[in-house]
Amino acid sequence: MPDTTGRARPPRAAPAARTAHARDRAPRRLRLRRGLTPWLFLAAPLVLLITFTYAPVANMVAYSFTDWDGVSPELNYTGAENYVELLTRPELFEVFFVSGYYLAASAVQIVVALYFATVLSFDVRFRNFFKGVLFFPYLINGVAIGFVFLYFFQDGGTLDSVLSLFGVHPDRAWLGTPVSANVSLAGVSVWRYLGLNFVLFLGAIQSIPGELYEAAELDGANRRHQFRYIIAPGIRPVLSLTVILSVSGSLSAFEVPFIMTGGATGTETFVIQTVKLAFQFDKTGLASAAAVVLLLIVLAVTWVQRRLVPDDKVDLV
């Protein structure tokens, strides 16, 4: 017996020792591999992110402390001079008034997108067709949109002809005065980005379990009640995300006004101004500083917004 136990023990001990040993080594290798695996998967996106986002940003920040003109081999470190110049020239920030138009437009855009998303999340005839129609503008290239709408707003263009079908002959230059030009441009950007907001809202609404509607209907809730007590609270996180995107988008509006008016007639936004500083007047250093300031402004606005509307968990049930 003792023999067997004695004999039995070593073999038992041996594998135990072996496993202990193996557990000591294999897990380390395994742990290493387990530790490495996510990084391997992350490598591609990280490399892309660093090369195309963080390195250029670091570059930009570095240039903002120099007087570089964008091509000359000579560049001098000028310290905070560019920032001082920016902050002592209030006229450079006047262009933010233009963002007001885009801000107002994005409020309209969110309401309209929310309306369509709600309507189309219920059973409606041709709903997939309408979904496509609403999302389609977002897929079109911004440059193409700019050109299309130039014809649209032209004297005797599409808008004027459509209005004349209804007997209205406004005879106005839509892009002719600062107010009308900015309203027109903001309208174009609503047309363009409505689809994105709409899809985000639609996704959020459809992730709300269907039983809730059924239960609500049994309790006698009509569509308005359903929106008020189920949908609205259910999509709050997406709603606040959309607001953040809209605010930062309004502050940095660029494509549509740049292509359509090039910033003429009081439609110059902060980004257009920055581009002009860099590529027209060869002040790459100053323009980089302006870009950094815009980044900080957007971050600050986002932060304030998050403080005002904290992102709490939604619990519908």
């Binding site: 670091a58 570095a62 570089w68 003109d69 081999p73 560049l75 230059a173 007639t265 009081g266 027209q280």
Partner: protein
């Protein structure tokens, strides 16, 4: 957090380092691209960067290259046509790889030319034969040569102006305005077309400089004083533009104009006048032919101002061709520039001025010759200073912005008076002049 700041810091350091490295880019300073003694011996394959995408696409450049090849059988020429020439070349010039021959982009500071380009010879030697050498001279050496030159002027539809009862060129801005008014009342044409939306046509109004006062030193005057002071050339030009728009003599909605569309419109008589350069004549004639209108209706007249009973027009260069200082085939590159300037017929094909002194004016400018318009070559000694002041002030003499503002002011889309507007430009110019220390 800590690790993150560290990587950001090292990234920043790497960036600064990389940026510092470009400082040593122009080591081979002051190199020359010698002219070849024997065309048969020059060899190599060269790349020519060009903004003429149209000529590369329709094979015209290839024809030039073939003709060049007959004289220089051992040189192979390839073209690299860039749509956004300025933007793309600017970025490529941060490396050493920007072709063998290229057009000097406007962003390069004149004093930096020796760092980027090989010299073509001394000013004194080249000026004997060529025009526009002044525009690329740094330290007595010339770094580029424009293959053609242009005169500024009003393209107009002769038929329309005749219908309005005007056959002689106006000699004062007031007379010119009366002419436009006559066009408005007696014909269906839009008297003047700004091309506001396409922006760059507005920049041509700066080429008024020199045409009013007939002063070859007009550019230097910009560098030393207020360009918008009473009686200065730019003030006269900008006031005329203001009066045209203010008097309702321009198109109704300038914000949606269309350059391509404006060409056949002028040819057919829908538009009477536009301020452009002589280079545009060929394009308008082609547009006229395409639209089935008479190309001979396209006329060209100088700025309505006279000195001693004669009109003046300034000759200005197009893009200047230069040799990349890092090129391995400088001799071949130089050969291309010389051949293209002297013998390609490029200037004549485009109905523009030849940069070779004493060459005859193109046929389209015969009326200029007949009327005795005095052609002046501007002295560009202060060109670099003017550009520096211009950038510092953010006015943009050769950029559309301030003229767009001017047009907006004239048509009431912007508040203020012309005097205040031009006065403000003058103040900004003076301030920038002091800041740049000139």
């Amino acid at each position: 957090m800590n690790r993150r700041t560290k990587t950001a810091g090292s990234l920043l350091a790497a960036v600064l380092l990389a940026a510092g490295c470009t400082g040593s880019g122009g080591t081979s300073k002051g190199e020359d691209a010698e002219a070849a003694a024997d065309p048969g011996k020059v060899s190599g394959s060269i790349t020519v960067l060009t903004h003429r995408t149209d000529l590369v696409q329709d094979g015209t450049m290839k024809k030039y290259a073939a003709a060049f090849h007959r004289t220089y059988p051992k040189v192979k020429v390839e073209f690299d046509a860039l749509t956004d020439y300025e933007g793309e070349v600017k970025i490529r010039m941060n490396t050493e790889n920007y072709g063998d021959v290229l057009m000097i982009p406007s962003v390069i500071k004149k004093n930096d030319y020796p760092k980027f380009f090989a010299s073509l010879g001394t000013r004194t030697e080249r000026a004997k034969k060529y025009l526009f050498t002044d525009f690329t001279t740094v330290g007595g050496k010339v770094y580029g040569q424009s293959p053609m030159g242009a005169l500024p002027g009003f393209l107009y539809n002769k038929r329309v102006w005749k219908e309005a009862g005007i056959t002689d060129w106006p000699t004062t801005p007031a007379e010119f305005l009366d002419g436009l008014k006559a066009v408005r009342s007696r014909t269906d044409a839009i008297p003047y077309y700004t091309n506001f939306k396409d922006m760059w046509p507005l920049t041509h109004w700066t080429y008024v400089d020199g045409a009013v006062g007939c002063d070859p030193r007009a550019t230097s005057r910009l560098a030393t004083g207020d360009p918008w002071a009473k009686g200065e050339d730019l003030r006269v030009g900008d006031t005329l533009l203001y009066d045209i728009v203010h008097g309702g003599l321009a198109e109704k909605d300038p914000t949606t104009t269309n350059w391509e569309g404006s060409k056949p419109k002028l040819a057919k008589g829908g538009i009477a006048t536009m301020w452009l350069g002589s280079w545009a004549i060929t394009q308008f004639r082609a547009a006229a032919e395409q639209a089935g209108a008479n190309p001979d209706d396209i006329g060209f007249m100088p700025f309505p101002a006279q000195r001693n009973g004669k009109h003046c027009a300034t000759m200005s260069p197009d893009y200047n061709q230069a040799v990349n200082v890092n090129s391995d085939h400088k001799e071949a590159a130089r050969a291309w520039i010389d051949w293209f300037t002297d013998r390609s017929g490029y200037a004549a094909d485009n109905l523009t001025l030849s940069p070779v002194k004493g060459a005859p004016l193109p046929e389209v400018l015969r009326p200029y010759e007949d009327a005795g318009v005095k052609l002046i070559e501007l002295d560009d000694a202060k060109g670099a200073v003017v550009k520096e002041i211009d950038n510092e002030s953010e006015i943009g003499l050769y950029k559309p912005d301030y003229r767009q503002d001017l047009v907006d002011l004239a048509r009431g889309a912007r508040k203020g008076s012309l005097d205040d507007f031009l006065g403000d430009l003058g103040e900004r110019w003076e301030e920038a002049r002091k800041a740049t220390g000139s």
